[in-house]
């Protein structure tokens, strides 16, 4: 058996420090005198590990309010309520706490972090390139000071021994250099390579995110079956575009929404939603059919690297079809009218039909409706919905006179007057096919139900770069955490008796336990190759 001596773990020794190309942690440099020295010491402090850690913690801390407080763009209504109901609301608003991830102070933290990262990376990349071209260092004078070392005797000559050992190590993937005084071998450069890949990819990821923010766009559009849209910003109900976005970059596709199908479990849990569409990728192209559903968006354009524009199914709801006729029987409105769900469990929905195509503005009015797909009574006797599918649909309507134009399609201004039915009724519960005659002579008929869909259109030209960066992040991380850098030295000298004494030693910066096993296995492998004849226990 080989005698393997164990020595104190020299974490802080120069030998171990020599294995890292990491910049030294700068705590506090000596007081700088000239402005240049000021800049230099400032830069050193910014790129020190201590600062990087502080910035990391600041970044984590800064993200917290963004997850706890309502945020603009996600919950706008809640933000307004919060500002109005808390005395510190306006203060929070001024600190951008309702828009944390677009806040200047948040950007300052991550930009500083990335500057610190890049400043830290540059010298490391240089050092690593140099290290990869530098041969492994010469064997240390005293092997006994290394964490692992052993000695044995053999009958081969010193030169032949080193030759044999070198070949064996090279075959196993070590980088080997044989000098007069001994053999040096090193491996595990991939650790630092992985480390650098990881950090460079973080910068790439930020670049991908920035590209999406600059050149991308998002749009949202609600459509009822039979209606479609062309991909023009003016068509969208809501949109947001990046700062460097240009309208001419929009893919020239158009989509027609054909029908919507929802399947529910008996418990009311949704099983599938499908929006069936027909689309053309550009004017004059052959129309194609597609089924947009959860996790299955429509993708238009794009190449192996650019994802193109995607159309998602963002939501859906009911659109009761109302026909409104004037006293002479002329149709003034005959549409699928989008009713927004007031809750998305059972889809009790609410909406307005505005009648404003009458010459006399004083005659204008609106129909307000509450639609329940499966009629049920609430605890206070109010109408609720008992199931999300239209199993027992009813439309509860009332009418309001006045100018209903503002503020949006889904709301009417305050101060409109109640308009009664011809029979003095204030409301009417309509089943499909039912009509309600109003006091002004108009008639409302509930002719049918369809379902609308809410489509989301996104184009993010930076996301492929972000994806590549993300994959490299994982690869780099695994390399930098799994690969261990270690060195191995062998020295052989002729003893007085004509035999060769072989010394072997090694060190690893990380995971000394595992290196101990590796070292023992390596020696076990090399000893017979050199024609070993028993161990020597060294003093």
């Amino acid at each position: 058996m080989t005698e393997t001596t164990e020595r104190p773990d020299p974490t802080d020794t120069a030998a171990r420090a020599a294995l890292t190309t990491k910049p030294v942690d700068v705590r506090r440099s000596t007081p700088a005198r000239s402005p240049l020295q000021h800049v230099r010491s400032g830069w050193r402090r910014l790129t020190s590990m201590r600062t990087a850690l502080q910035l990391l913690f600041l970044l984590a801390l800064g993200a917290v309010p963004g997850s706890i407080l309502p945020q603009h763009g996600q919950q706008d209504a809640l933000v307004t309520t919060f500002i109005n109901t808390h005395w510190y609301g306006p203060l929070f608003d001024r600190l951008s706490l309702f828009d944390v991830f677009a806040a200047p102070w948040f950007a300052a933290i991550y930009l500083l972090l990335f500057v610190s990262l890049i400043g830290c990376l540059m010298p490391r990349i240089r050092l690593h390139f140099r290290a990869m071209r530098t041969p492994p260092p010469a064997p240390p004078r005293h092997f006994a000071k290394l964490p692992r070392s052993t000695t044995w005797q053999a009958d081969t000559t010193p030169a032949a021994t080193l030759d044999i050992v070198g070949k064996a190590l090279r075959r196993k993937g070590w980088r080997v250099l044989v000098r007069d005084e001994g053999l040096s071998a090193e491996r595990g450069y991939l650790r630092e390579t992985g480390n650098l890949i990881f950090h460079i990819s973080l910068v790439l990821l930020l670049a991908g995110v920035a590209m999406g923010g600059l050149f991308g766009y998002k749009g949202e559009i609600i459509r009822t079956p039979g209606v479609g849209w062309a991909n023009l910003l003016g068509q969208y109900d809501e949109q947001s575009t990046g700062r460097a976005f240009r309208q001419s970059e929009l893919a020239p596709f158009s989509v027609t929404f054909d029908s919507f199908k929802a399947v529910y479990l008996p418990t009311g849990e949704p099983k599938t939603y499908d929006a069936y569409v027909t689309y053309t990728t550009h004017p004059g192209a052959t129309p194609q059919k597609y089924d947009i559903r959860e996790n299955h968006p429509l993708v238009i354009g794009g190449s192996w690297f650019t994802g193109g524009t995607k159309v998602y199914l963002g939501g859906h709801g009911y659109a009761p079809h109302l026909r409104i006729t004037d006293p002479q029987g002329n149709v003034v409105s005959d549409d699928d009218d989008v009713f927004l769900p007031t809750e998305t469990t059972n889809y009790l929905s609410e909406g307005y039909v505005k009648v404003t195509n009458i010459a006399d503005k004083k005659q204008w009015f609106a129909i307000h409706g509450v639609f329940t797909p499966t009629k049920a009574k609430g605890v206070q006797g109010q109408i609720i919905s008992g199931f999300p599918a239209a199993n027992d649909p009813e439309l509860l309507v009332n009418a309001l006179s006045g100018d209903p134009s503002a503020p949006s399609v889904y709301d009417v201004p305050a101060g409109m007057q109640q308009l009664l039915g011809a029979d003095k009724s204030t409301t009417a519960g309509l089943r499909v096919g039912d009509s309600w005659k109003l006091a002004n002579g108009y008639t409302v008929t509930f002719t049918g139900i369809t379902q609308f869909a809410n489509f989301q259109i996104t184009d993010d030209p930076g996301k492929e770069l972000a994806l590549v960066a993300a994959i490299l992040i994982v690869v780099g991380l695994i390399l930098s955490l799994r690969v261990r850098r270690r060195r191995f030295w062998v020295r052989a000298r002729l003893q007085d008796g004509g035999r060769t004494v072989i010394e072997a030693g090694g060190l690893a910066r990380t995971d000394p336990e595992q290196f101990a096993e590796e070292f023992a296995a390596l020696v076990e492998r090399l000893r017979p190759l050199t024609g070993a004849t028993g161990p020597i226990v060294e003093e």
């Binding site: 850690l53 990391l56 559903r293 959860e294 000394p512």
Partner: protein, 347 residues
Amino acid sequence: MPHPSLAHASDLLFRITLALYAMAMLAYVAELAFARRGLIRSREAVPAAVAVPEERALVGAGAPVGGGPLPPAPVDRSAGPSSSRRLTFGLLAVGLVGAGWLVHAAEVITRGIGVMRVPWGNMYEFSSAICLVVVGAFVVLNVQRRATNLGVFVMVPVVLYLGLAGTVLYARAEPLQPVLNSYWLVIHVAAAIIATGTLMLSGVVSSVHLGRRRYERLVTAGKAPGFSALTRMLPDARTLDRVEYRIIAFGFPIWTFAVIAGAIWAEAAWGHYWQWDPKETWALISWIVYAAYLHARSTPGLRKWAAHISSLAFATMIFNYYVVNLLIVGKHSYAGVKVASALSALH
């Protein structure tokens, strides 16, 4: 078609698992108790003047132990009835954990077959799967002989965690909502479960590591160790630090992958890969703090803070799991959990 009988069997297996783990926990407590008694007796046997240096040598303060095996726990040297009783309870605990883990695995598998999908569709199922990973990783540590006397510190949180899952978070076996119906559910959630499980185990190790370090410092200074005496039986702080690092070095890349897989899924399901959903945000916060841990640990001047940082990272994981999942409204909210609606009704 789902198999309700299998889902029932799974519920039963869950209870058996919990019972076995609870018994294992008690056996570990007993083992620790007898070990302490043994230690006290052995210390009484030797003169006080000799006992203190011996303790110092054992904790290894001042004299580095190197890469070699740990010094045996002090009690192993004290012969007597408490020592053999300790061994009995230790073996019993290991057996109970092993048996519990097998039943636990069967529970997760039958749940999956019972609902005809991956068995991680709601918080009850996540909790169960995460515990399966925690206990599995703990068994691996035991096999590698790195988990000397860690049992009680692992099994107490596991039993609490599973107990919460079986009561408050329990959800009947049901199919998935449409948005969850994707192969990314398998990839993203499986990675998240493995990473959460291993990082939770590292959280346990980093907590006891801090306790052990305090114990070593106090004992070396000749002061009373107080509560930190609980860690008396554990491997020295150096070893715990190494174990902690190994687990995090294993879990952190998986956590990274889970976050990225989640982003890819989000892109496919919601139209954008990152939307600062509260759960995403907290996943990133945990990621950042674990990254800070790795940096601190590899920087000589900052290494002393590493265990504090990984404990903090662990706290962010727990916050993300309970507070963000249940109380903060976001796209990862779990409608299947009654507690969320109950709590929101209270407001």
